[in-house]
Every structure is written in structure tokens, then in C-alpha cells.
Amino acid sequence: MGIDKKTVEGVAHLARIELEPKELEKLSHQLEHILAFIDKLSVLNTDNVPPTSHILPLNNVLRKDETKPSLSIEKTLANAPAKQGNFFVVPKVIE
């Protein structure tokens, strides 16, 4: 399976990354190259192999429903690029 410029463009939108035309061109080319290498996986028969998403046989890691102190509002907002009162501010959502 390959990847073309149009696909890369769509994926970049999903990932919310703007790409200059030149960047897109270069990236598409590189990804094509990388995916061609990755495609060597397709020779393996994995029909009866279970997937591993966690490497340790851990289950049911849970915590008690006990309250812990929250951050102070100053600390919460200390890194905010834009704030208003107690709120974070973002550009208008509905356009």
C-alpha cells in the first residue's frame, strides 16, 4: 500500500498540521519511502497471532475513589497563552 500527496494532505488535516506545498512534496516522498520499507511486514502471516498492545500481563489497575487536592488556579493558568479571569481563552470555536 502506498501513500500519495492527497492522502498525506488528508492525514495532515486530521493531525492538524499545516504543510507548505514544498513540505508536503518532500514529506510525501519520504513517507512513501518509509512505508515501502514498512510493507515488508505484509509478507508475514499473522492470521492467528493475537495483537499485543500491553507488554505486561497487568489487569485491573484501579484507584480508590478518594479526593486529592486540585491545582491552584494560578498554577493551572500559569502556562496559558491566553486567559480571561479563571478561564483559558481560545479563538472562536464556531466559525
Binding site: E66, S70, V89
Partner: protein
């Protein structure tokens, strides 16, 4: 052509745990913006989630109460999408191995029972809140990370009324379980709907619309009714229906297409690597099953059996767990075998008072003991009339005082001794010779008029039954 609506509901339910799903922040409603947040629920770089044991227990409880099969092996997944109320830009949710599937909920409409399939009940986390301003949006993350259940129904509902009944029944069951406030105003219960129309009797589904932004059960009903009308019109005029998301506008009572244009959705679900899988054992399921109380339907059946109530009365009294608890206590304490008066008092005047105060019956300042005493004062001892009883009840709700005390303080007790009543009757006969004459010529109305006059003369306190008997005796003997 006649069309039939096909409706499925997606309910999001806040679990009323003390802390959020994946961190120790409080879930309390109504605090200052961004005061109940920490690195975890803010999705700060480096922070990691740890799931809340109680949220899992509650989720299993709901799944079992909705007759779902709880899966032995379940896990969390990430649902990836960008939105400013979602700090990590992914929501921890469940995808291909949800907590539970294949359940049902029985609803009753017009005396007919109908089984509505529950596709799945799964666990996830809530997002924050956006407040839209003129030129920007403000973000409050207090709600972010509150444990949510998503309860998805099968498209088994065929009318707005059925949808309403499904929601009411669901809410009633959840309240019995004591795992959520179910308060739509606070957003602890939210509902989206999928609706399509198809030719009556057809098996294939039509083009569906997703409805959002309904803020009450009635809103869901109204939005569905509007949408049925809108789709009907389009189908009749052979126009094409778009598969789209529409928002209910309660002010203008219409659904409007969502304005935000989003490309095809691609959530890129994948197993949440930060959270190991969950294994739900048979013994865990049994343990939680044991904590499930008697649910509304069972309780209704028992009320009919134990207290001899009509199906209607039993259903009304068991719809809310608080009313059911209060009713049962009152009925138990009420010494007469026939419990109908208790049901009447609760469903009638007491529900009226609670309605005016917009609170649960159980939240009024009236204890079961006090209510029992009041009913006995009216029905058995006949110390006061039914009408006065209602006045006393109102006063009880306002002051929390015992009915006997109110009767004494306000001097409301009925006059039931014949000497006093006879003197009242003597006066009335004297003052209304014409009516007395009318009675004697056989005009039945005259008797009622004279009773009324006597009641007025006693300032409403005369025992009406006794009064009538004595008056009739006196007139007949003259």
C-alpha cells in the same frame, strides 16, 4: 405513503463518584471555573490516568440493571479528535471491547409493555465546557474527566412518546441504583437521538438524522416530533434527505443543521496504552449484583400485591425511588388494611405541593408518621374534613408541624357533638323558612342548601356527615 419513525437514543450519564474517572479531583458541581483540575484531567504533558474503582463498580451495576451481558475482558481506547474542551485531544472511551452489550429495558405505554434493546453500555470520560463569547471562547475544564457512561439503545423506539417513556424509565432505574444525579439541567444526563423514517412495515432503514442539544426529556420528545414532521414533508415531496447532525432549538421549537463543517469523521480509535485491560470476574459480577436494590418494576408489582394498590397507583408511587420509599413507609405505618387513602393523599395533594415547590415528595418537611396521623385524623377519626385536611397538609409542608398541633392552633377541629350541631341546625332552620318549606315539598336540593348554610355558620368545622344526618332527622321529624 405512511411512514414509521425509527428512533435510537444515546444517553450520556455522569456517575456520581466523589472523584473524576482518572484523577482525584472532586466532581462537585458548581465550583469556580478551572478550580477542580489537576495535571491529569488537564492532560498536562507527562501526566497519566488511573481509573476509579467506584466508577467501574457503578458502571457494572448499571449494565446489570439494564440486563446487559458484562464482558469478561474489556479495555479502554483512545478516541482522537481535536476540540478545545478536550485537553488531550483524545477522549478515553471504549471501542471494540465495551464493558457490556446486549441488554434491554422494558417500557410501558398505554398499558402496553415493550422491550427496548440496549446495544451497549460503555465507560468514558466527559469533556470540559465552552462558553462562547463574541470574539472568542472561554474554556472551563472542571467537568473534564468526570466518569461517564454511554448507554446506546437499539433503534427499537417508534414514536416520540416511546422515547420519552424510555428516558423516564431509564432515569427511574438509574436513580434506584444511586449512581447518578440524572439531572439534565446540570448536564449529568444528556441525550442524543438518531431518527429516520421508513415506509410503514418496511424493514430497511431510511436516511437518519442525529439530533443534539436537547436539554430535557420534553425537549427530546418535541425535537423528535418536529423531526418526524420535517422528514415526512421532505419524503412526501420526494426530496432527498441528508444524513446530518441537527441541533434542537428549544426557543424556536425546530431542529437546525449544525453549522460547523467537519470532514468525514475519523476518530482513529486504538487501545489506550496507559491503561491495562480490565478483567471482570464472575464473582465480581455476583458481588455487584447483590448491591442492586429492588428496581421500579419489581417494586410496583410488590406494591400491588402487598398493599392492594391499583396498577396505576403503584406505578406512580414507584416511579421515583424517593417517593416509593416514602410511600412504603407511610403505607406500613397506616394501620388500616385498605391503603388506598395513602395512595390518594400522596398522588393527589402531596404530589401537588411537591410539584409547586419543584422538589421530591420526600424532600418536603412532612414525615411518614405525620402524614399517617393526618390521614387518620381525616379518614378514621373524622376530626377534620377532607378539605380542611388539605389545608393542614399545606401548613405541615410549610412549617414541619404535626397536624394535631396545627388543628389545635388554628382551631380547625370538626364539631361532632350533637348538642352543638343541633344548635347550629336550629338557627339555620329558623333563618331559612323558604328552604325548609321547599324540602318538605320534596325538593332534594333544599337539603344540600341547608347543609351548606350550616357549614358556613360553623365556619366549616361541622362534621359534614353528622350535620347532614342530624339536619335530615330534624326536618323529617318536624
Amino acid at each position: 405513503m405512511k411512514y414509521e419513525p425509527v428512533i435510537g437514543l444515546e444517553v450520556h450519564l455522569h456517575l456520581n463518584t466523589k472523584t473524576k474517572a482518572f484523577c482525584g479531583c472532586s466532581t462537585q458541581f458548581g465550583s469556580e471555573p478551572n478550580a477542580q483540575v489537576c495535571p491529569v484531567c488537564l492532560g498536562f504533558p507527562g501526566s497519566l490516568p488511573v481509573y476509579n474503582q467506584t466508577a467501574l463498580d457503578y458502571a457494572i451495576k448499571v449494565a446489570l440493571a439494564l440486563n446487559c451481558k458484562v464482558q469478561e475482558h474489556t479495555k479502554f481506547d483512545r478516541k482522537n479528535y481535536f476540540y478545545p474542551d478536550l485537553p488531550k485531544n483524545y477522549q478515553i472511551s471504549q471501542y471494540d471491547l465495551p464493558l457490556s452489550m446486549h441488554g434491554f429495558l422494558d417500557i410501558e405505554l398505554g398499558g402496553q409493555e415493550k422491550r427496548i434493546g440496549i446495544t451497549r453500555v460503555h465507560m468514558e470520560e466527559d469533556a470540559g465546557k465552552l462558553i462562547h463569547q463574541e470574539d472568542c471562547s472561554l474554556v472551563d475544564f472542571n467537568r473534564t474527566g468526570i466518569p461517564l457512561l454511554e448507554i446506546v439503545s437499539e433503534p427499537d423506539l417508534n414514536s416520540p412518546e416511546e422515547a420519552y417513556e424510555y428516558l423516564s424509565t431509564l432515569k427511574s432505574v438509574i436513580e434506584y441504583l444511586d449512581v447518578s444525579d440524572c439531572d439534565m439541567e446540570k448536564g449529568s444526563l444528556r441525550c442524543d437521538a438518531n431518527i429516520s423514517l421508513r415506509p410503514a412495515g418496511s424493514k430497511t432503514l431510511g436516511v437518519k438524522t442525529e439530533l443534539k442539544n436537547m436539554n430535557s426529556f420534553k425537549g427530546v420528545k418535541d425535537a423528535l416530533a418536529f423531526e418526524i414532521g420535517r422528514q415526512n414533508k421532505l419524503l412526501e415531496s420526494a426530496e432527498t434527505l441528508l444524513q446530518e447532525t441537527r441541533l434542537w432549538n428549544a426557543k424556536s421549537s425546530e431542529t437546525l443543521p449544525m453549522r460547523v463543517k467537519e470532514g468525514a469523521k475519523d476518530y482513529r480509535y486504538f487501545p489506550e496504552p496507559d491503561l491495562p485491560a480490565l478483567i471482570i470476574t464472575e464473582s465480581k459480577i455476583a458481588e455487584i449484583k447483590n448491591t442492586i436494590p429492588e428496581l421500579p418494576k419489581e417494586k410496583m408489582r410488590r406494591f400491588i400485591k402487598d398493599y392492594g394498590l391499583s396498577e396505576y397507583d403503584a406505578k406512580v408511587l414507584t416511579a421515583s425511588k424517593w417517593t416509593a420509599r416514602f410511600s412504603e413507609e407511610t403505607m406500613r405505618k397506616f394501620s388500616a388494611v385498605n391503603k388506598k387513602p395513602v395512595a390518594n393523599w400522596i398522588i393527589g395533594p402531596l404530589a401537588g405541593i411537591a410539584g409547586n415547590k419543584s422538589c421530591e415528595i420526600s424532600a418536603l418537611r412532612i414525615s411518614a408518621d405525620q402524614l399517617v396521623d393526618l390521614i387518620e385524623l381525616v379518614e378514621k377519626k373524622q376530626v377534620i374534613s377532607n378539605l380542611t385536611g388539605k389545608v393542614v397538609l399545606e401548613e405541615m409542608a410549610n412549617t414541619g408541624k404535626h397536624p394535631q398541633k396545627i388543628i389545635e392552633e388554628k382551631n380547625l377541629a370538626q364539631i361532632s357533638d350533637s348538642t352543638s350541631l343541633n344548635s347550629v341546625i336550629a338557627g339555620v332552620i329558623k333563618e331559612n323558612p323558604k328552604s325548609v318549606a321547599d324540602y318538605k315539598t320534596g325538593k332534594a336540593n333544599a337539603l344540600m342548601f341547608l347543609v351548606g348554610q350550616a357549614m358556613r355558620k360553623s365556619a366549616g368545622k361541622a362534621n359534614p356527615k353528622m350535620l347532614q344526618t342530624l339536619l335530615k332527622e330534624r326536618l323529617d321529624s318536624e
